[in-house]
Amino acid sequence: MRKGKIIGILIVVVVIAVAVYSIVVVRRGFSARDNPSWLESTMAGAARSMAYPSSAKQMQSPLPATNENLMAGEAHWADHCALCHANNGSGDTVIGKNLYPKAPDMRKSGTQNMTDGELYYTIQNGVRLTGMPAWGSAGDDDEDTWKLVQFIRHLPELTAEEEKHMESLNPKTPEEIQEERQEQEFLNGQSEPLKNSQPMKH
């Protein structure tokens, strides 16, 4: 009887705490600029670990780790992934840092400690309730994705020269190409600042 009473009191306390927290949160509103709370991160992390089939964790790349495959992965990353994840995998982009949850720094252990199979599965299947879409289909034979996995492993050692090269591979609109050309001409002394001194907003 006494045990039941204690459990009852605990439940009431938890309910009150959750209710108060919810009222505060609802009054404050929600923004994707916030960082997920510890509770959200923990629950999402647990849910995510369950998302990988046990077979996926053991998957191995059928491709050799050649420089050619690494370069292909780098080009693919610059074209498809860098918009959110940044060329260096930091996630420090306008989109990446304003997502909820934010794009992770893939150079760090949270990503680098995943198995190759888990990385492959994440790219192919995406991550629910995040900005990460499913890029592929079922199966373990998408060579482009395995090349990306090889490149993700390389992210912690990415050099400034590689990063610079990747900038030339990032997708650009005609306006961005023109803007880039004008900025370079200005830096080269080929045009006067007057033409380009206006702040350009994106």
């Binding site: 309910v15 959200e40 420090d92 803007e179 830096l187 002394g189 080929q190 045009s191 001194s197 350009m200």
Partner: protein, 104 residues
């Protein structure tokens, strides 16, 4: 009892639902002043724009990667910055000592 269980369930559901190009500015001109914390750019609109420098800011001169100390007053500069309220925070600073093209 059912009601007691339903309340936290609804609240938790709400919490789950909650779980469920931005603002970049290019500042172009000549360097009016430079310090470890900021660069002031003089644009030809006769405006001085101060852009903050952080540890994440990257610098690139005519010969490749550089440091803030390499930036000199009078250099041409193109800064890509993020807006944080009224503040501009540089993420890339490209600069050169190129002189204006000679008039013909």
């Amino acid at each position: 009892m059912k009601k007691i269980l339903a309340i936290p369930a609804v609240i938790l559901l709400f919490a789950f639902l909650a779980f469920a190009h931005g603002n970049e500015e290019h500042v172009i001109g000549t360097v009016a002043s430079v310090s470890p914390n900021s660069i002031t750019v003089h644009t030809l609109k006769n405006e001085n724009k101060e852009v903050a420098i952080t540890g994440k800011t990257t610098f690139e001169g005519q010969n490749g990667p550089a440091k803030w100390e390499d930036v000199k007053v009078g250099d041409r500069v193109v800064i890509h910055a993020d807006k944080d309220g009224n503040k501009l925070i540089a993420h890339t600073v490209r600069f050169s000592t190129a002189q204006p093209a000679a008039a013909h």
